[in-house]
Amino acid sequence: MRRPRPEPHSLVGAYALDAITGADRARFERHLATCQACAGELRGLREATAGLAEAVAASPPAEVIDRTLAASARTRQLPAVDRAPAWRAFLRVHRARARWVPAPKRAWRPAPRRLALGLAVVFLAAAAASGAVALSAEHHLGTARLSDHAIAEVLNAPDAVLLTSRVTAGGTATVVMSRRDRALVFTTAGLPALSAGRYYQLWLMGPAGDRPAGVLPAPDRGMTSLVIATGVTAGDWVGLTVEPAPPARHRTSKPILMLSLAA
């Protein structure tokens, strides 16, 4: 006999305890977006979990706080959600980078993208499961970790599609693309480590020629954090090459990945 699918609302306790994962978590979050009562109940349950947290409070070592404060001075903050102009400026920056204005070295690995990875992976998994990605305003606590509006925009696009491919050098590449936004978000898992002075370079290749589309950040536990490429045109492929530093306008090696975006 088939087990009936559980009524989503009753998962609110498990959700508050982070005890549901993957598709279950995504399904509950979709439900949460449309359920005022759930959001209200969740708010109350989170006060209870905060109590559980305070019950085990223990002072962190002073070095942890010192390192955190030092790191915060180098870490860009997110704009408030409702500040649309800041948003557009952010998108413009990314478009400019996609056209390749050589960025200073530290910009290769912007902290916000790295931090977005945890949630983004959930989104990618959800995208794989459902063919679309749901991002609701209601899971604000989760969204707090989704660092980058431009990336969120693509992941949340109604026409987002997920493509994956093996990389010939080893590992896999995953792309979420939105035609509407003419943009894609790119991540990899299990790429071979590179020697110093070499890096993975992302390209858009097609009728409009080869355009550098960003440098992959150093992997974190085998995965590279999300890179967004904008200005995708019809007939484009996504390519990946290994290049020597500093970033070049023209690729110098054969692609280790060629993924067609024609879906």
């Binding site: 982070d18 989170r46 706080i65 955190t68």
Partner: protein, 196 residues
Amino acid sequence: MREAGPRQVPGTAAGQTRHADLEALIGAVARGDQAAFEAVCARAGSAVFGVVRTVVRDPSQVEEVCQEVLLDVWRAASRFEPGKGSAMAWVTTIAHRRAVDRVRSEHRSAERQLRAASHQVAYDEVTETVEARLDRERVRRCLRSLTSLQRESVTLAYYGGYTMREIAALLAVPEGTVKTRMRDGLIRLRDCLGAR
């Protein structure tokens, strides 16, 4: 197992003021105020560190995750909405999510399955640890007011980082039962904690 560390958190009498302060401080952090961020770390850092340490356990990773959580707070301070819950709930939710994400990515494979297989051992270990660390009288008292199945479901999930599915296997009860006990347990805990 490590003993619970020294407590920075003052008693519950000052709780309300402390929480109101934390909300105002996070508002200042959203405007890029470094001094306010330092104050947030001083006030919420011990809850963050406590959760991360309890869930992640591996000492080599605890500090790193703790730092990630506090940096999330710095980065995302503008996303905190005071109307949607307390600042402490917001911060500890970020901490718990990051901590369980770390444990699950680390233990996704064989080790985690092994732990699930030797469930009685794992379960005993978790409860013992949790009880050793429950040094806040009020929460401990409130947890005692839960039924044993509610308490086990809530603490295995929150402190052990186990999923609903894993807990059902550990306790040998249906998932639906664990789901219900989690919700009922948290409601009871919330009501108990609210009635100061």
